[in-house]
Symmetry: C2
Subunit: 123 residues, 2 copies
């Protein structure tokens, strides 16, 4: 057998990456692209691209790992137990471990953001 | 003392993040913004934004950790020991540990990319 994919450098596009529709009703309101994730077993962490329709959001939840997010396109707000914090294209958002959080698209177009997590997590 | 910054969620812009000029001659050809990095002690990994002038590049080097990169703006190529791989806005690039690599701006405008590394590394 040759080396696994993770032994080689590669370039990937959202269209060619493994993609999941996270919408409860299958409407594509919340889409996740696994850009660099389980399919290549990166040693430390995974990079995903989320694509969220206007008015939609990720779950309001928490987990033991941090989120590091970069806003690629659109605008929205980070909901936590404190005052919501607005964000827009070109900004980064940090969510510490064990912190309730939700990403809301409050803009008029789709919200796209990169979200990096340790390999131990998946949301 | 109150909680450290890393205990709270936050939104950060490249302009307000710690920024370093990596150019040998101080011309700003290679700039690094520490969006979520040592200043907040994230538990697992650090997110930086690089901004590279046309014709310029990062060092050709290797290290024991992987790179996970997302191209925010511009185009270029990944140089490794194999054939160079082109990339452009909206694509992701994976570089495995212990792999010689260099990011080259081959486009006409500045190249901006997010680069995530484990907290153990810094380049």
């Amino acid at each position: 057998m040759g080396p696994s994919v993770s032994d080689r450098p590669f370039v990937v596009t959202p269209k060619t990456a493994p993609t999941e529709d996270y919408s409860a009703d299958g409407t594509g309101d919340v889409i996740k692209h696994d850009l660099i994730a389980r399919q290549v077993s990166p040693p430390n962490f995974a990079m995903r691209l989320f694509n969220i329709a206007p008015g939609e959001n990720t779950p309001y939840h928490q987990h033991p790992w941090e989120h590091e997010v970069f806003i690629v396109e659109g605008s929205g707000e980070l909901r936590t137990a404190d005052t919501p914090q607005p964000f827009s294209t070109g900004e980064a958002v940090y969510v510490p471990p064990n912190t309730m959080h939700q990403f809301r698209n409050t803009g008029a177009k789709r919200l796209k953001f990169i979200c990096v997590i340790p390999n131990s997590g998946d949301c």
